[in-house]
């Protein structure tokens, strides 16, 4: 269902200098691998919720992201993988507005103006002094209270935790906490949901359950999802598109066209997972040069 748009050549929206633009085009030219098969799509063709142009981010002297370009199609599920410290979490924090980019432009296109964005963190970050239900209601308008309450209960029911509404977060298991965090994000009906390794700390079985839940809710609610993970299996299971980031740049942009819901024991799944994993582990040696 996704159209991949890896575009570096469309007109700069603001402050993109000629030099970096040129360099990018060279990159792209040197990098016409199969993964970039849709790289030539003109920018206007895609209903993009997010457009990143020449994004740069540095902490002190360390450059985390440099000249980063990406488009994310509305309603698609993009999985971002990469080794620790490759800049994937920084990218997500930029998208969430928790950090500011040092260079480039980040354009968000909402259906009516602002792109309504919510983030789910690696740790659930539930307020321990609020009940599960109150946590889900965080940030909802206090009046009319009945309406907010009804919405929170409905979403809590969607993640299967309506019986735990009055429990404290400390009484929940790790997976249940992440489900509450998911409900808390969804109650705001976001157009863009950012997932920052939300399943990293969960056991394998809970993780598979969470995959199914996230996928189901994504299909039902129709939001755009960006998942950062270091688990290639998870990325292939969930993403329409798996984007590998290396040293602050996109090293691979792989479409995943497997039918949903995905069965993980097919040869196609394994082949795709193996390919991305190879690329993550061996970098440019097995893939094509990225300059």
């Amino acid at each position: 269902m996704s159209v991949i748009a890896w575009s570096s050549s469309f007109s700069p929206i603001a402050g993109l200098d000629l030099e970096s633009e040129l360099r990018q085009q060279l990159d792209c030219a040197a990098d016409t691998g199969t993964e970039r098969r849709l790289g030539l799509a003109p920018p206007g063709d895609v209903d993009a919720a997010l457009r990143l142009n020449g994004i740069g981010k540095r902490y002190g002297t360390r450059e985390v992201l440099s000249d980063f370009n990406m488009q994310i199609e509305r309603g698609s599920f993009v999985a971002i993988v990469g080794r620790s410290g490759c800049g994937k979490s920084t990218l997500l924090r930029l998208l969430a507005g928790l950090e500011r980019a040092d260079a480039g432009t980040l354009q968000t296109v909402g259906r009516d103006g602002d792109l309504h964005t919510r983030i789910m963190f690696q740790d659930a970050r539930l307020l321990p002094w609020k009940s599960v239900l109150q946590n889900v209601m965080l940030g909802l308008p206090r009046r009319p209270a009945a309406q907010s309450l009804a919405r929170a209960r409905a979403v809590l029911d969607e993640v299967g935790l309506s019986e735990r509404a009055n429990d404290w977060p400390a009484q929940l298991s790790g997976g249940q906490r992440q489900r509450v965090a998911l409900a808390r994000a969804l109650v705001h009906q976001p157009e863009l949901l950012l997932l920052d390794e939300p399943l990293g700390a969960l056991d394998a079985l809970t993780r598979i359950e969470m995959h199914a839940l996230i996928e189901r809710l994504w299909r039902e609610h129709g939001f755009t999802a960006v998942l950062v993970t270091h688990d290639v299996h998870e990325a292939v299971a969930l993403g329409d598109r798996v984007v590998l980031i290396e040293a602050g740049r996109i090293a691979l942009d792989q479409a995943v066209t497997l039918a949903r819901p995905r069965t993980r024991d097919t040869a196609a799944f394994a082949a795709l997972e193996g390919r991305v994993l190879q690329r993550v582990l061996h970098g440019e040696a097995s893939g094509q040069g990225t300059n």
């Binding site: 919510r118 970050r125 321990p128 609020k130 965080l138 735990r164 400390a170 298991s173």
Partner: protein, 261 residues
């Protein structure tokens, strides 16, 4: 729980105190222990009963309790307000915190000569000492409680649209509450210590007055009643603070009964 276990858990800890009381009673009765040093336990009970019946005890407890409470409200309130202010506002922290941290190293009781010079020996001196004693633990724990609130939770709340008062009410203050309550319990402990000292220096009423008066007349039984009263009041304050924690921190894993789900 079987009867044997009840016996072990409830009664065993009482054996030593009962034994000490018995030895004490016997040694004062036999005359080995002079009643000027320690009166027999029964005499202490009798003295306490008389004080209760005459209404003296209640009057003294009321006076001492009122002093303690006033000091707690003034000192604790100031500590709380200043701790919140320095914890929340950077400019105030820069302006005030290092000064307060410096002053806090002065033992409260070391200021007594100065306090007597300033306030004389009347009520305001006692209020000042108690308030000073309660102020520092309250201030420090409030300040640290606010500084130690999980940054991740604040970041989450901001990204969920909370700001201003809502952020304080829903995230920062509840996050600082465990630490603030620790400050309160420390403050309550120091409240009684400073009050006892302040009342012992000079008082025309209160438990301290009662014991110092009794000392003049060698009424060791009443002195002991006074000491036990202080212990009892201290315990009551601690129990109250603890139950406050149980109510306010019922979300906290440490206060939850039953196993995790």
């Amino acid at each position: 729980m079987s009867f044997k276990q009840v016996l072990k858990q409830r009664l065993a800890p009482c054996l030593l105190p009962l034994f000490i009381l018995l030895v004490w009673e016997l040694s004062t009765r036999s005359g080995r222990l002079s009643s000027h040093v320690l009166p027999e336990p029964l005499a202490v009970v009798r003295a306490a009963w008389q004080l209760i019946q005459s209404g003296e005890m209640w009057a003294d407890v009321k006076v001492s309790g009122a002093r303690a409470l006033a000091g707690l409200v003034v000192g604790g309130g100031l500590g709380l307000v200043l701790g919140l202010a320095t914890g929340l506002f950077k400019p105030l922290e820069i302006a005030l915190d290092s000064t307060i941290q410096m002053i806090r190293n002065i033992p409260v009781l070391a200021t007594i000569p100065l306090v007597i010079l300033w306030f004389g020996i009347d009520e305001s001196a006692k209020l000042f000492l108690v308030a000073l004693g309660v102020f520092f633990p309250m201030y420090i724990n409030t300040y640290h409680g606010i500084r130690e609130v999980d940054r991740g939770l604040i970041e989450m709340a901001r990204s969920y649209g909370l700001s201003g008062w809502a952020l304080y009410r829903d995230v920062i203050l509840p996050g600082a509450l465990p630490s603030i309550l620790v400050g309160l319990r420390f403050g309550l402990g120091l409240m009684w210590v400073t009050l006892i000292v302040a009342e012992t220096i000079s008082a025309q009423s209160g438990i301290g007055y009662m014991t110092m008066n009794a000392r003049e007349f060698l009424q060791t039984d009443i002195v002991l009643v006074g000491i036990l009263l202080y212990a009892l009041l201290g315990k009551v304050a601690d129990v109250l603070a603890k139950s406050l924690e149980h109510v306010l921190l019922r979300w906290h894993p440490a206060y939850q009964q039953g196993a995790k789900a």
